[in-house]
Symmetry: C2
């Protein structure tokens, strides 16, 4: 299974960039994960909705016919780490080839993306920056593979 | 209000250490936050319960008579970022001087700490490493102060 994490805008904080690299290394023995950054659609001024639409279209261009998409969204379903690991295993078992987590950008998702019948997953009731959400997602993916591999993972 | 975040064991990942410094800088204009690391109580072998007890006693030694303690615990109450900001404001309004977030260590909290009538807050249904939980807590504290200050915080 190929996993992609896609977000709008590159991480600005160097500790996040480092953390992404770190989890990439840790995840390598388990799964192929690609992190992809889409361009920001402009400032955050008056044209908010137009910018979100423009950014949203970039996600749609990425779609492959056999893509399983999960939106990280605050109104999504919350899983425990164990449930999330079992969810990954289930996707693997039913033969999902391409799994994409869409994280959005500073302005959130366009209505077009939100209206798709994609599963929504929430990492927390709390709101995170999208770069922090990426870091947490990678940590949970690593945790999930450790759980499925019966490995202890403490630090 | 003085805020302390206390955890057992020092962060091992350099990106976490960097992130903690970064949020420390960002939080400086708003609040005094001290991050304190308590010693690990030994290996993670057979004497798990004894180690947890030993580690737990170090938290009790830190307590000042006027301390408001919050345990970060997966069975705690979940707040949205906005609710968390209002909670902080409420503590400030009622004159809390010393607020401590206890994060525990790789083995979790001792029964002694869990039996105290302290408030428990959960960052997510997912389990995080305690060093990751620290990073998320600091991010949420920074977000909370930005919310209370009516500042936009995107990245």
């Amino acid at each position: 299974m190929n996993i992609r994490a896609v977000l709008t805008g590159k991480p600005k904080s160097s500790f996040i960039v480092q953390g992404i690299e770190q989890y990439g290394k840790w995840l390598k023995p388990y799964v192929r994960i690609e992190v992809r950054y889409l361009p920001l659609g402009g400032g955050t001024g008056r044209e908010r909705e137009k910018i979100k639409e423009r950014e949203g279209r970039n996600y749609l261009k990425l779609l492959r016919p056999d893509e399983t998409v999960v939106l990280l969204h605050e109104q999504g379903e919350q899983y425990s780490s164990l449930e999330f690991a079992h969810k990954l295993q289930k996707w693997q078992n039913i033969g999902v080839k391409n799994l994409s987590f869409f994280l959005g950008g500073p302005l959130g998702f366009s209505d077009e993306l939100l209206s798709r019948e994609w599963q929504k997953v929430s990492l927390s009731r709390m709101t995170f920056t999208h770069e922090m959400a990426l870091l947490i997602l990678l940590e949970q993916l690593y945790r999930a593979y450790c759980i499925l591999d019966n490995r202890t993972y403490h630090y």
